[in-house]
């Protein structure tokens, strides 16, 4: 189920243009042993499927496909689960239509 879902999102992200900024992830997940329910909800709520669970059931984020919507910031930042910033100027997703 989840592989099927992520494959479909990745196909979608493939339409988009990005300027990646390697080594400068704009979102970081705070190290944890047990993820909060908010963090777990990002597995389904992130529209770019950037959040994934590793084999220890911790949540990780890969920002390459991020469309900078801010949803994870709204859900998780207040609790301190994540650190959220915009990418450096000019980097990140670049909409042609928007």
């Amino acid at each position: 189920m989840s592989t099927d879902r992520s494959a479909r999102v990745e196909d979608r992200l493939f339409y988009n243009r990005y300027l990646l900024d390697p080594g400068h992830p704009h979102i970081k997940v705070r190290p944890h042993t047990m993820p909060s329910s908010e963090l777990v909800s990002m597995l389904t709520t992130c529209p770019a499927h950037c959040y994934v669970a590793n084999d220890k059931h911790q949540i990780e984020v890969a920002v390459d496909g991020c469309i900078e919507c801010g949803t994870c910031r709204v859900i998780c930042e207040e609790r301190g689960d994540i650190e959220w910033s915009y990418p450096r100027g000019g980097y990140g997703v670049l909409f042609k239509f928007g």
């Binding site: 979608r12 339409y15 529209p47 709204v74 000019g90 980097y91 670049l94 909409f95 239509f97 928007g98």
Partner: protein
């Protein structure tokens, strides 16, 4: 790949060495309206935009409201990248297999100066920004403002940016940073949006030949049509789908309250797929080529979520101030109007030679209170809470009941009509009970009033 050549560097140094009257953070609808108005009045304006070009980070449906733009660029119809002027609006209430629709179409909308257009934001914002530059503002792209600089008394005196030596001073800062603005929240002048005050919308651009779009939607020339859809497509969450026609593509998307996403575990792209597969929607986009997948937040908190709008050396405009009318799906016009009014307030203070204090800048709020922006939002102040609390009734139960009644009404099977009506009524009462129905009706009427 990236413009970091020497030309860019020289320009950057020049900019940071200069002093400006006003810094506008953001080159979206609100920021452009503010920067344009300020520059036209001869103020020295610096506008910062984090995108590669204005519009590269922005997402909208998108309907443009002509009046609010006309107040800024009177002859915009001459060269703005407009897609189609709208002649028809459809509202759909959907269940999983059908929709009940209300359509309004009028040839009156084929007027010389149409009232509403569809646009493509990435293109429109570039054009708008060009007008800002022509008016004399300095527009610096690829620059993210990271922090508001405050003096010992807490007065905002400029911004820090992510460029090396990127501190820039100004007499006041206009925060036009959009729904997810970081600066205001980091400086503590505004709260971060909460899951129950913002919706997450996902959107795709579907390309089709012009003739196909015109045939499928019954349009000719530059006529356009929009569909707003609510119902079981949002799986009981507060949300709406939309389909807007452009010249050679269709903007299609769906948005739901963030708090409802986290509680239902629905995925945004799953909802989008289901909307696209719906038998009423699928034939409209059949054979299209998708060229972009975008997502963005929409302020949905309404009047009660509006933050403090001004302070020592700053004002906040547009989505960053939650100035968005979710009931009418209007945002860009509130953004443009608030940006313009904030600029006019600053111009007034400046022309008196007075300092940019909170007291002096408070005229911005007075002006906004008298405008349609706050008056409309105040009218619907109780709507968000109603829609968000009773979302399952309004977005699941009623659409299903309406469809059932319509089908019951339309199928001719020898059942006497009086019996059919009774059946439909019984379904409503069974699902919601008399008191439930009455309660919803009263709540809706109160909030709408």
């Amino acid at each position: 790949m990236r413009a970091t050549g020497s030309q860019d560097r020289t320009r950057r140094d020049l900019v940071t060495a200069e002093t400006f009257d006003i810094i506008v953070v953001g080159a979206g609808m609100a920021g452009n309206a503010a920067a344009l108005t300020l520059a036209k009045h001869g103020l020295k304006v610096l506008q910062l935009e984090r995108g590669e070009y204005p519009g590269s980070k922005n997402v909208q449906g998108a309907i443009l409201y002509a009046d609010m733009l006309e107040a800024l660029v009177a002859n915009f119809r001459q060269d703005a990248p407009l897609e189609r002027h709208l002649v028809e609006q459809r509202f759909w209430m959907m269940d999983d297999r059908s929709h009940t629709g209300l359509h309004y179409r009028s040839d009156d909308f084929n007027e010389e100066r149409p009232n509403r257009y569809t646009i493509i934001r990435a293109q429109f914002d570039r054009w708008f920004s060009q007008k800002v530059r022509e008016a004399g503002a300095t527009v610096l792209c690829e620059t993210t403002a990271t922090e508001l600089m405050q003096d010992a008394n807490g007065k905002v005196v400029g911004v820090r940016t992510d460029r090396a030596d990127g501190e820039i001073h100004a007499g006041a800062v206009v925060l036009a940073e959009g729904v997810n603005g970081l600066l205001g929240t980091r400086a503590g002048v505004r709260k971060r949006p909460t899951p129950d005050t913002v919706a997450l919308a996902v959107k795709e651009m579907h390309f089709l030949p012009r003739e196909v779009i015109e045939a499928r939607f019954n349009l000719k020339g530059d006529e356009g049509l929009v569909i707003e859809a609510a119902g079981t497509i949002s799986r009981g969450m507060t949300g709406m789908g939309f389909i807007y026609t452009n010249k050679e593509c269709i903007s299609l998307g769906i948005g739901c309250l963030v708090a409802h996403f986290t509680s239902t575990g629905e995925t945004p792209y799953g909802l989008l797929d289901r909307f696209k597969r719906h038998p009423s929607v699928a034939p409209l986009i059949e054979g299209s080529e998708v060229k972009e997948y975008a997502a963005h937040l929409i302020p949905e908190g309404g009047f009660k979520a509006i933050p403090q709008l001004y302070g020592e050396g700053w004002v906040v405009v547009g989505d960053a101030a939650q100035l968005n009318n979710a009931m009418h799906r209007e945002g860009s016009n509130l953004a443009m109007t608030s940006g313009r009014l904030a600029a006019e307030a600053i111009i007034q203070v400046k022309s008196r030679g007075a300092p940019m204090t909170a007291t002096n800048l408070s005229i911005y709020k007075t002006m906004l209170d008298h405008s349609f922006v706050i008056r409309d939002l105040r009218k619907y102040k109780d709507m968000p809470a109603l829609m968000h609390t009773y979302s399952r009734n309004f977005f699941l139960t009623y659409p299903e009941l309406v469809s059932e009644s319509m089908q019951n009404f339309l199928r001719v099977d020898g059942t006497p009509k009086a019996e059919k009506e009774k059946q439909s009524l019984n379904s409503f009462v069974k699902s919601r009970s008399w008191s439930g129905l009455l309660g919803d009706a009263v709540r809706l009427a109160r909030a709408w009033r």
